[in-house]
Symmetry: C2
Subunit: 541 residues, 2 copies
């Protein structure tokens, strides 16, 4: 009897979760109100400044049992404030300049809630209706931003059932994979008795076309997702050939041409060239026009990974930096990077609206031929209506607003570069072309010592400086006041040796020049107390 | 001068977007308040009941120009209420039983906002911190739900830097691709001089291992994403062999064994068997234990696509339906289906924690060896913290709550099946094993006519019934009161001919028995006035 009463009571309370909104005075509603009225304050107050070691955080996430009993929403909310929110990363903080995440425009918060409440599924019209034309428009707008075709072109193709001007993706990796999937399938298309690689697979395709292998050529600064694409698509990471870059971290197109010719002489077909428009590490842009020329010579696909740099096309003052991108067969852009959209919005664009024919697929219950279901041209299936947030940003910020944000970020990077160069104990490693730069801290005495060192000593000091830089970066992160990331480059100034550097991305509109000065001051302090300095560097003085 | 004033003013207004929250009395805040206090009412009032034709909706999304000038948030909000929200699909409506989307628990709305506000990037610890252990715990909980290993196992592996018990994905398609990517790479692993398919590609791998081809065997009811996986991975759609199903839409394992043996006799290696645990069209579960036996015999990977059915494991009363799943090498589960999480939460689980070694990747600036960055074992790169919503649902609903939801949905499906069978003019096509079923409307007179028809007349009537069923489904959707989807099956009752059927998914906890009765009543009315009935069916009477 009591058991049955319990069951009835809990069924009712369970149903309430689906029918009764959170009360305005509930713990969760209070948290939400705080986010709504003062997001920056909420993040500053609730994210712990000093880093808790990961192994301690893990203790709060140890049980592998789905809890048997339901839990009150308020208890859960309280719990995650302490265990999750407090130990998150303050990605929006203006002094956290090591990531590609930034402060977000406030309006995306209520709009995200609307998006979740509507819970559309963009795989098909039947679960998205107006969201499908909206997503097609967003893709069309970005296509226009990159390729600048006349409105007539968009009138014809943007809402066409047969084609797609691009595909919305969860992120740049899926966008890059989709682009190269299409490149592969277009190259190895159906012909005569051969039904195409999509149907018969890679081995039959190579046999049919008589290629000994496939290769993709990309700058050594290409994003690691390209290696993943090579693996997934069956081409192999070794056949994604890294081409050296020049002093400015731009790919050497002459070297690329030489490599391509050598491969073709061996019967290896160059499937695609990948240009990078904003390398992840240094923000440099490959010579896209030269690459487009080479791709034409080779008769191969030309993809541009503009996950980071694509937004620069919105600035009339700087879009020339990406000149040649309009000649690319496909382009990756991440709206969750410098377009200030929350995480989860990658896009791949196709110059030719029929490019997606190469990957078209259908099913009995959806994606029927002739339908406008977006899912027939995407790698992913069910997907949320993230396009709604890109649409909102494009309209509310507008092209001119983006231009201002982008111009400011480039100007800020220039300022920071000059500041670094003016300080005797800092060293700029890569000049900013967009709003990324790399640098390091090298005590003046070490600089002087390096001047007179023999080759072996130089190498030893380089190794010590690497340890020191990595240690400083880690300690700065742990202190929690600011954050720069780190990577490893091979600059000429260090004899092309692997060189650990600080990396910064200056896209957050809230990052001020004063903050940048503070970051250098903090690093100078950290350097003075760094254990790696004492252990490995001081002996050279 | 005035130009400069304008520029300053707009820079200020632009910055306000990043610094000043939406005012409580703004249009967007009012919309948000309505969602918070009465989501169901908001959706009912703001989504237009009667369908507007798609080509008319498209007119509102025609321009391919990124707007030059910024727009007020309030103007944008107003605009999307009329143009987007009004013409969205009411996926949460209890009478919309044709999708796999359902009403959501209310607490996911404020939590989604928190997630967006925190804007973590799960690719690496540096941009997610506590979110990484949280995601590992969620994956661990689902692993435990499926594989039920002892806590010691999870203590060892759940937070290990070297391994992953699974991967969080944007959806089931990426989960299925990831599983088969791993299966492919494990099969064609490094050996001797061969560096593995990941490095050298598929052609070298086949040459090294001496296979003439690869094949994957799956039920003819397998999800279309598996074909996509075959294409992407270079195996080819033709080498994903569809095996017939029995009367209950479960794969015929004897036929699968025969096919596998025939392939192996030709030198074609069976790379994987894929079992379906909840087919998309009928909700049936393949004989997983028999398939596991066969996979052992063949020495191949056994993947189970439980995107839909996986949640059933949370019910102790029904988890036996998926018996054998614990023998699978990998399992796909979609939390945005019957786990009531918003769109965008797929998961793939691996029995063996070292499975992801086959796809491990690193980069200079993140995913360094030894780091706990989740991105070194995922197909995707940057990803949002969706795991937070799965975590919340698992804790707040609890296993017992899920059990109740799942048991109720199965009971409701049983009720609806019996109801359909009790009506003389309806016909149940597939019995519900989970909460999916298919049926159609066949006027009694037509049923009688079919009894006496010769073969050709039967086929003609079948074709006419197909047109009639498709027309009814479309008209019901357009009327906007309720929604069932449709698919095409080949039931024995229709001589294995392609047969268009209504398909329903009864997972929405708010769908009542009264609503189900109304849906049949509405369909009976629609049938009476259907133009396809008059045009193609009436002549047989």
């Amino acid at each position: 009897m009591s058991d049955k009463r319990f069951a009835v009571a809990s069924e009712q309370s369970l149903m309430r979760v689906f029918t009764v909104p959170e009360a305005p005075d509930s713990t969760l509603s209070k948290i939400e109100a705080e986010i709504s009225s003062n997001l920056a304050g909420f993040l500053n107050e609730n994210i712990a400044a000093v880093e808790k070691p990961l192994h301690e955080i893990e203790r709060d996430f140890e049980s592998a049992q789905v809890p048997e009993e339901p839990m009150f929403v308020s208890a859960h909310a309280q719990d995650i404030m302490e265990k999750l929110v407090a130990h998150s990363v303050h990605t929006a903080a203006p002094s956290f300049i090591g990531h590609m995440t930034s402060a977000l425009p406030h309006f995306v918060l209520p709009l995200s809630k609307l998006m979740v409440g509507l819970n559309q599924n963009l795989v098909k019209i039947e679960t998205s209706k107006a969201f499908t034309p909206l997503e097609r428009q967003v893709v069309g707008m970005l296509h226009h931003m990159a390729y600048g075709r006349e409105q007539k072109f968009y009138d014809k193709w943007m809402h066409s059932a047969k084609t797609s001007l691009g595909a919305f993706c969860s992120g740049g990796t899926v966008a890059n994979i989709t682009a190269l999937w299409i490149a592969r399938n277009c190259l190895l298309k159906a012909e005569g008795d051969f039904k195409g690689i999509g149907a018969q697979g890679l081995v039959s395709a190579m046999f049919h076309y008589g290629y000994k292998g496939l290769a993709v050529l990309v700058s050594e600064r290409g994003h690691y997702s390209l290696g993943k694409a090579a693996d997934v698509l069956g081409i192999g990471r070794d056949n994604f050939i890294a081409i050296p870059t020049d002093e400015d971290n731009k790919v050497d197109v002459a070297a690329m041409r030489k490599e391509a010719r050598a491969l073709e002489a061996q019967g290896i077909k160059v499937m695609a060239l990948v240009g990078v428009a904003g390398t992840t590490e240094t923000g440099n842009i490959d010579p896209l026009n030269d690459m487009a020329d080479l791709a034409e010579e080779l008769g191969c696909h030309f993809h541009v990974d503009a996950a980071w740099g694509g937004a620069t096309l919105l600035s009339n003052n700087h879009r020339h930096l990406l000149s040649g991108i309009e000649r690319a067969d496909s382009i990756t852009i991440d709206a969750h990077k410098q377009m200030y959209v929350p995480m989860g919005a990658g896009i791949v664009l196709f110059k030719d609206p029929s490019a997606t024919d190469a990957i078209e697929h259908h099913a009995e219950y959806i994606l029927r031929k002739g339908s406008k279901d977006l899912g027939s041209h995407t790698l992913e299936g069910s997907r949320p209506g993230m396009a709604m947030l890109v649409h909102a940003c494009l309209r509310i910020i507008g092209r001119k607003g983006y231009e201002m944000l982008i111009d400011k970020s480039l100007e800020k990077a220039r300022f920071f570069a000059d500041l670094i160069k003016s300080e005797a104990d800092f060293e700029l490693i890569s000049e900013p072309e967009l709003c990324l730069l790399t640098y390091r801290y090298v005590p003046e005495k070490i600089k002087a010592r390096l001047q007179q060192a023999d080759e072996q000593t130089k190498l030893d000091i380089y190794a010590a400086l690497n340890r020191f830089t990595a240690s400083m970066q880690k300690r700065q992160r742990e202190a929690g006041r600011s954050f720069v990331s780190r990577t490893r480059l091979t600059p000429a100034a260090y004899g092309y040796q692997p060189t650990v550097v600080f990396r910064v991305v200056l896209a957050n509109p809230l990052t001020s020049k004063a903050i940048l000065k503070d970051i250098l001051a903090e690093q100078r302090e950290l350097a003075a107390s760094d254990p790696m300095y004492k252990k490995y560097l001081s002996k050279y003085l």
